[in-house]
Symmetry: none
Subunit: 216 residues, 4 copies
């Protein structure tokens, strides 16, 4: 079963097949446990061809990260339409995010788990994607604050912190939804939206929770 062993394909096509296989293996086994043998076999080619096209295990992994990161940010961007109210934009973005991670669980595993588990060549690659998504959320939170006519209700770094928290929560939830049978991506998105939007709304209305004074 699997890929029919079609021969003599143009390079670009073969490269994509290899990346498909690599994402799957890396996502399931992890970077170290993945073997180039297995990847090559799943791609339906011989190992030397993988090396010819993608240089090394490290480069192959980097290429996977880059491709998956690009695809994910593109999916989120495509899911959102500017001009709509902030909560609607957030909801659309979250849905796109969770839908994409649910459809590409191995890709998300590569980005969220595997790339972070290993050293510097890879972490930086993911950081770029994350920065972009955080910036998107930050903008949304700011818009929401403006819509609530509460400038300058939230100091700038508070907004940034909330965006970070939101993205982190989404990332974790996506992995959890993928790993937990019976939880659909949409449910996870709704839970988060609910949670986040209520919290944000409260904050913007000035209902801050104050830490107790008596601490060691």
């Amino acid at each position: 079963m699997g890929a029919v062993k079609t021969k003599r394909m143009p390079r670009a096509v073969r490269e994509q097949q290899m990346l498909d296989a690599a994402v799957r293996i890396f996502g399931q086994r992890g970077y170290m446990a993945a073997s180039m043998d297995e990847i090559a076999e799943l791609a339906g080619v011989s190992k030397p061809l993988v090396y010819l096209y993608l240089n090394s295990k490290e480069d192959l992994f980097t290429a996977c990260i880059r491709r998956e990161a690009t695809a994910l940010t593109a999916a989120v961007r495509a899911g959102v339409r500017q001009g709509l109210p902030a909560d609607r934009q957030l909801w659309d973005g979250l849905r796109a995010f969770f839908a994409h991670t649910a459809e590409h669980p191995d890709g998300w595993s590569v980005l969220h788990l595997q790339a972070r588990t290993h050293g510097e060549p890879f972490a930086a690659e993911v950081a770029a994607m994350r920065t972009e998504i955080v910036a998107f959320v930050t903008r949304l939170v700011a818009v929401a604050a403006r819509e609530a006519h509460r400038d300058p209700g939230l100091p700038e770094h508070e907004v940034a912190g909330l965006a970070e928290a939101l993205v982190g929560a989404a990332e974790s939830l996506a992995a959890w939804a993928n790993a937990t049978p019976g939880v659909t991506a949409r449910q996870a998105a709704a839970t988060l939206m609910n949670f986040a939007w209520s919290g944000l709304g409260d904050l913007m209305r000035g209902h801050m929770w104050a830490p107790p004074a008596d601490e060691s």
Copy 2:
């Protein structure tokens, strides 16, 4: 020269030294990249002794997970006093959680990253700990609901998702606080508490955010 070679220690002590070393190496390198050689050297013993006491790499890793999970749940339990108001209990629990993980980063890495990145023998081990923490949060939510004279009304898996989101948000915030000058870890924790508590409170008061009706 180098580590003083204290010999003939009782077995229990030696085992702890080995686990210390193993947690450190596993936490930093990951399960696959960690080598028994390095662990034995860091523990100051020969490799056969590690095998004599801990059987295999897999068993050693399992022992690490178990020890670190126990330590973490104990720390959280110790940080919370029952009888206080729910928000205070949550705040105390969060503080204990983050204090412990900050003090034992390798242990936390083992639990949160490494154990999840690899197959079934290990994931089950972490599940136990996760269950306990979720139970703690669930209880808090129940307490809060009682305080608000309301039926908690949150299904079990919703609570699990919230716990997951909370941890993800916290990790994100911790990393962000670490990388952003002018933001202390405690401020970040307060932001998180704020965010979470408001959201939870709203949810329990029945203020649910409603997804828009027009969807594909």
Copy 3:
């Protein structure tokens, strides 16, 4: 961009380009370390073409040896004019030899180092050249002997040994002159000539150095 890709050249020309590239790579990297990939790239052609024209790595190396050996003996022959006194012929021959090897260091490396370092297919190829050079020196010695009105009296293998010693001495001197400021290559050649000619002359006049009698 890069090397101009002149296509459709007549076979003879292409072959020379390939041999040029091969001699350079073989001379610098050695037979085993040289890769057909690198040779093809330096020659500006694709690998299959190299195989089409030169069959195999072994055949390619043999062709290199043959070409370089022929060139070297031709250069020496061209540098010497018969009829001149023997010492003048030797001096001219040495100069031609060193001029050629200095101008074609990779070729000389192929002949002198690489070909000897590997087994039988190649050593035989060099032997032919060596035979010719030894014959040249032998003839010179004979001429010198005639000039001195003496029977040369040097057995064949003695001459071969002297030739070997001469080449070794010359190589050593060349490297030394190269590394020592204030010593030109020509001075080194003169020193060698001096050394060699005196020794040869003495030998032919029958002034043999006698090993001491008391030996174990």
Copy 4:
């Protein structure tokens, strides 16, 4: 045939067995063509043990060079007694040199051919040995000049050049003697001694050969 598979030997012994095998394989096949598999098999151990003790192919090769170089210089030093006339010292040194290289042809191949054929980590290792031998010969030539009461007959750099030439000649002759059946080490030594001593004697008596004036 060969090494009986004796097990559990002390490390120092095993290391020597490995070096023995490595020198033989490296000397016969060359650095690149030698395979660690073959070396391990000839040494009668498994490959991992070779790596455990000697780290890498490169380190193993370096260790070979170092051991053989030390052995060779020691043999030459042991063959010479100071206080004897210079020609006697030279003769003894040459005999020791040729005897050693004849008894250890693979070692000599490693030093003379293989180490020079490959890049910088190794060439430096041989250079040290060579420097020591050249210094020894330089001293001898100077002593000979003094004995001939011809100070300052030979300028300093001329002495150095002659020593270089002598050593180079000896090196080449040794390899040639090893590779040529029917030529004993002692014959080679005598030929070189004859050649060199006569030349040196002539030079020191002022009989210099003058290059012809008419050159391009």
